[in-house]
């Protein structure tokens, strides 16, 4: 029986080429889109879950107290003192490892030098994450301070081979390190990626702030592996008590808690110290998209199948009279849909392999079909079966319910009312989804444009920055003189961080006329040199820039407009404030500019003058010269000062472009999959029209003989479909208006939904549908009536 069913299913597919083609293409696209998004989702869901015991790995988080008893923010930075405290006093902690955030540092094998992602960590990290050692011993690899672990690809870049144990590399052109391990490259979906790993003990040598145990510098990461089966709430209570007992408590004290490290990536958004989601929302969205497109394809299948019901009804009738029961008929129709789905999934996997490189490039990630593990394949099989069942079930149950005598007499129209309306509902649903996607895409695009066009507060063009490494730290003044002399730049300054990043957050600030005994507003501080405003061009509201003409500027600060507002000053110039107990006088107030996230307003900022804190050098290019020659001159001079380091010149506007990445991804994905959804929907519409045209060939022939024009006939065929699209538009617009309004409200700075987006989306969809329908309608309407009437 099954063999016969299979044979007949294949014959049916072959016989109805148009509908098979539409179903197959639709399902293949739907499945491919689904698989692609699921690939992306499984990449994201497996973030930081590679280690065997990743379930027990926690990261210490810090709550930043805010006004009232609220928690203003939560971040994953901790002090150096927390790690040892937990290690000694928390029995549940199996391993504790402190790390830095990681940065790009120079690593060299002789002349062969590169800037690579570096990280410092305590030896316990090797037990936490089971890095696969190709060479070396994980037990001892980080014991000696002057040791380093390389990843395979780093070893290859530096030495051309991976067997490099006990060879020596030079770090930041200042210290030689012995290679004590070579490990397999870390997976892309990991937050703690590095190209080379160095011991914490070496960090203490490089950076004094890492050596002493303090409770006020939150620039470090503390990872903790807890014993399995501990109650995290109890552990966190202990952690809080421990920290309370060992630090002085005041309004600025920042309580810690442990958070599952693998959850941070997707559930990294905290409100009032509680996790409230994060990127996981995007994952849900993508899953919705994936299954939505698949559902559209399934609906196509159902519609085509039920549209063909008249043809199939006869078959059902006959089979019933020769003894087929309903089960066997249902099985037959399900076999048909399963066969189609299986062919479609093969096509889909081929499509996926074909499109994956482009998709990767679009999203700037590196997905691979191997991210699907056994579980995923079982999942895919499940999806295929579910797709086959969903697509096949409605036709199967619907068709098999036909009464034989009615079908044999060709009288199913009496029962057809409900069936036609369900088909209409499905088509309306499909197009609703498509229209919602179009509107969302437009709104996302508008929002990105809005943020992009929003002034950042200074002229980003012709502004470049280079990292302040090696000799540039100590010889900055000389470097500046040389640069200015060369004429490539008009002005420049050094600062503790790049202009596009946040500086150090702090709260220990007092000011004249303060009302509360203690400040609870999070401030941000940036250390800089002369010519800060002159170079970056941030609008100066009051006062002046730092200047060599005033020797007293070493104890002067410039504050942002929002800082002046917090202080409550109408005339801030000359007012005294105290930061970490050091007095400073306000000499200038600058307008708030965009750093960190362009979507929200930033916290108040204080800029002070010091030569000690180096980080980045920002330069304003001389517009009189052409860009290339400016860059060339800068590279030449920088290389001369700093021969050990490669010169990395970054355009500041590129840094700002980077900031739109996550919304851009969202935009690309909704564009792509919105387009696909519409395509598959139109494919289904085409199939329905084609079928209804085929059924009405004779009617059209008669009408033509009676004198109907082509336009009359096209109208006849198109009108009902256009009506459905119109209903879909009417339903979709309020839904998308509401949903996108909510999405926009996530951003402090957001655009409004312009009135023209809705008609644009509606008209666009209507045009697409009209085009699809008209094509077929025209073909039918212009055919020779004799051909149609010859039959029967």
């Amino acid at each position: 029986m099954f063999k016969l069913n299979l044979k007949i299913a294949l014959r049916n597919l072959w016989k109805n080429k148009t509908s098979s083609f539409i179903n197959l293409i639709g399902l293949a696209i739907g499945l491919a889109a689904c698989l692609m998004l699921l690939l992306y989702v499984s990449y994201e869901l497996n973030f930081d879950k590679q280690a065997k015991n990743s379930e027990n790995v926690y990261i210490a988080m810090t709550n930043v107290p805010g006004e009232g008893n609220k928690i203003a923010g939560t971040f994953n930075g901790t002090t150096t003192a927390l790690g040892p405290l937990l290690k000694q006093n928390l029995p549940e902690a199996k391993y504790v490892a402190r790390m830095d955030y990681g940065k790009k540092s120079l690593i060299a094998n002789g002349q062969n030098s590169y800037k690579k992602d570096s990280k410092f960590a305590e030896p316990d990290i090797l037990k936490m994450y089971d890095y696969q050692f190709v060479y070396g011993d994980p037990k001892t690899a980080l014991n000696n301070p002057l040791s380093v672990i390389l990843t395979e690809s780093t070893a290859k870049t530096l030495f051309g081979k991976t067997d490099v144990l006990n060879q020596s590399v030079r770090y930041q052109d200042m210290e030689n390190l012995t290679i004590t391990g070579v490990i397999k490259d870390l997976p892309e979906n990991s937050s703690n990626r590095f190209d080379f790993l160095m011991p914490w003990s070496f960090y203490g040598i490089v950076d004094a702030s890492a050596k002493d145990l303090n409770w006020n510098n939150y620039s470090f990461v503390t990872m903790v592996t807890l014993n399995p089966d501990v109650n995290i709430d109890l552990v966190n209570k202990k952690v809080e008590a421990l920290v309370k007992a060992s630090t002085p408590q005041n309004g600025q004290s920042q309580p810690h808690f442990l958070y599952k490290a693998s959850k941070l990536h997707l559930f990294g958004k905290f409100e009032n110290g509680k996790s409230v989601g994060g990127d996981i929302e995007q994952i849900w969205l993508f899953m919705g998209l994936a299954f939505g497109i698949l559902l559209i394809a399934c609906i196509n299948f159902m519609n085509m199948a039920t549209a063909k019901s008249e043809k199939r009804a006869k078959e059902v009738g006959i089979k019933k009279t020769i003894g087929a029961n309903r089960t066997s008929l249902i099985l037959q129709f399900l076999t048909e849909s399963m066969v189609l789905t299986i062919i479609a999934v093969v096509l889909a996997i081929a499509l996926l392999e074909l499109m994956l490189p482009a998709f990767n490039q679009l999203l700037n990630i590196n997905l691979d079909i191997s991210y699907f593990n056994t579980v995923s394949w079982v999942g895919i099989l499940g999806i295929v079966i579910a797709t086959g069942l969903i697509a096949g079930s409605y036709p199967a149950f619907y068709l098999s319910s036909f009464n034989p005598i009615q079908t044999l007499k060709r009288r199913i129209s009496s029962k057809g009312f409900l069936n036609v309306s369900l088909r209409q509902v499905l088509v309306v649903g499909q197009f609703c989804f498509a229209i919602i996607l179009i509107i969302s895409t437009l709104v996302i695009y508008r929002q990105i444009q809005y943020i992009k066009n929003k002034p950042v507060g200074f002229d980003v063009n012709a502004l470049v920055e280079i990292p302040q490494d090696g000799e540039l730290k100590t010889k900055f003044d000389l470097f500046k003189t040389e640069m200015l002399k060369s004429g490539a730049v008009t002005s420049m300054y050094q600062s503790s961080v790049s202009l596009s990043h946040r500086g150090r957050n702090f709260m220990d600030v007092k000011w004249e006329g303060m009302i509360n005994p203690i400040n609870t507003v999070m401030f941000n501080q940036v250390a800089t040199s002369y010519d800060f405003i002159k170079t970056n061009g941030i609008k100066l509201l009051k006062g002046r820039d730092f200047s060599k003409n005033f020797a007293s500027d070493t104890s002067a600060v410039m504050v942002s407009a929002s800082a002046a507002k917090v202080f409550g000053y109408k005339e801030p110039i000359g007012k005294k404030i105290s930061i970490f107990g050091t007095n400073a006088y306000i000499i200038g107030v600058f307008d708030d500019y965009v750093w960190d996230s362009p979507y929200k307003s930033n916290n108040p900022q204080v800029v002070y003058l010091t030569s000690g804190q180096t980080g980045a050098i920002t330069m304003r290019l001389n517009k009189a010269n052409n860009l290339q020659s400016n860059i060339k001159t800068i590279s030449k001079i920088a290389k001369a000062f700093n021969p050990a380091y490669p010169v990395e010149i970054t355009f500041v506007n590129a840094l700002y472009q980077e900031k739109y990445k996550s919304e851009k991804t969202l935009g690309i994905l909704s564009n792509l999959f919105g387009g696909l959804a519409i395509f598959v929907s139109c494919l289904g519409l085409f199939g329905l029209v084609a079928y209804s045209a085929e059924q009405r060939t004779k009617e059209f022939g008669v009408r033509k003989v009676l004198g109907a024009s082509v336009a009359n006939l096209m109208q006849l065929l198109s009108l009902s479909f256009i009506k459905m699209i119109t209903i879909a538009i009417v339903i979709a617009i309020p839904i998308s208006y509401y949903a996108m309004g909510k999405w926009l409200n996530n951003f402090e700075f957001h655009t409004n939904i312009s009135w023209w987006i809705m008609p644009l989306a509606a008209l666009g969809t209507l045009m697409m549908a009209l085009l699809t329908v008209s094509f077929q309608a025209y073909k039918t309407a212009t055919s020779n009536p004799v051909d149609a009437l010859k039959y029967e």
């Binding site: 044979k7 007949i8 029961n325 034989p404």
Partner: protein
């Protein structure tokens, strides 16, 4: 084998009853060859459909093989189709997607007849009807008469005790029609299969043993055909 008592069938629309059959009471015995005749719209086909349990009478009782089948569960009805009743239609109603062989095989599959038995029965039927050469063709590759032969072969495959034929020769030329009627007669005489056919043709009716004349839903005559 068939007992109809006071069968009535009507459709009501807007409160008015439109009778198709009225007070039909008759008995059909095992081995009879009955022709139902009458003008168009007399209710012949409806009567046949009721006999085939494709339609339910509005009123009256119907006993098939001594069992009341007036209203029957679908499962039970399919059981009867598999074992006792074979249908032959005017429009042949072969399944377009199946070859001749598969069309004949289908009822056996539903009846869950074992493979070897199935093959031998089909071979026998193909042989008997002289359509061995056509077994791998699809219905649309056959002439009308050949299609009807396949239709009858299919009806016979499950070895039914009764064949219900709705104008089996209505779409055929007279030569082919004769061939089909001869076949029916042979089946009736040699194998004792009960046959009920609806026909317009007096000539075809002569092949049978009994004629039921229907007009306006009422049985007018019940004539026994004198065997020649």
């Amino acid at each position: 084998m068939i007992e109809l008592k006071n069968i009535e069938k009507y459709y009501s629309s807007k409160g008015i009853k439109h009778y198709v059959l009225r007070h039909v009471t008759t008995t059909i015995k095992q081995g009879e060859f009955v022709s139902i005749m009458g003008p168009s719209g007399a209710g012949k086909s409806t009567l046949l459909n009721i006999l085939g349990m494709l339609e339910e009478p509005t009123y009256g009782t119907y006993e098939f093989l001594g069992e009341d089948v007036t209203t029957l569960k679908e499962r039970k009805r399919i059981e009867l189709y598999r074992n006792h009743i074979g249908f032959v239609f005017q429009a042949y109603h072969l399944i377009d997607e199946m070859t001749v062989y598969e069309n004949i095989e289908a009822p056996l599959l539903y009846k869950k007849v074992a493979g070897a038995e199935r093959a031998s029965r089909i071979a026998d039927l193909l042989d008997r009807f002289n359509i061995v050469a056509k077994k791998d063709l699809f219905p649309n590759q056959l002439s009308g008469g050949q299609q009807q032969l396949v239709g009858i072969a299919r009806a016979l495959a499950a070895q039914p005790s009764i064949i219900l034929a709705d104008e089996p020769t209505g779409n055929l030329q007279s030569a082919q029609a004769e061939q089909i009627m001869e076949l029916f007669k042979k089946l009736n005489v040699e194998e004792g299969i009960t046959i009920v056919q609806v026909t317009h043709s007096e000539k075809n009716a002569q092949y049978g043993s009994r004629i039921l004349n229907i007009a306006d839903g009422v049985v007018k005559d019940d004539i026994t055909v004198a065997s020649v």
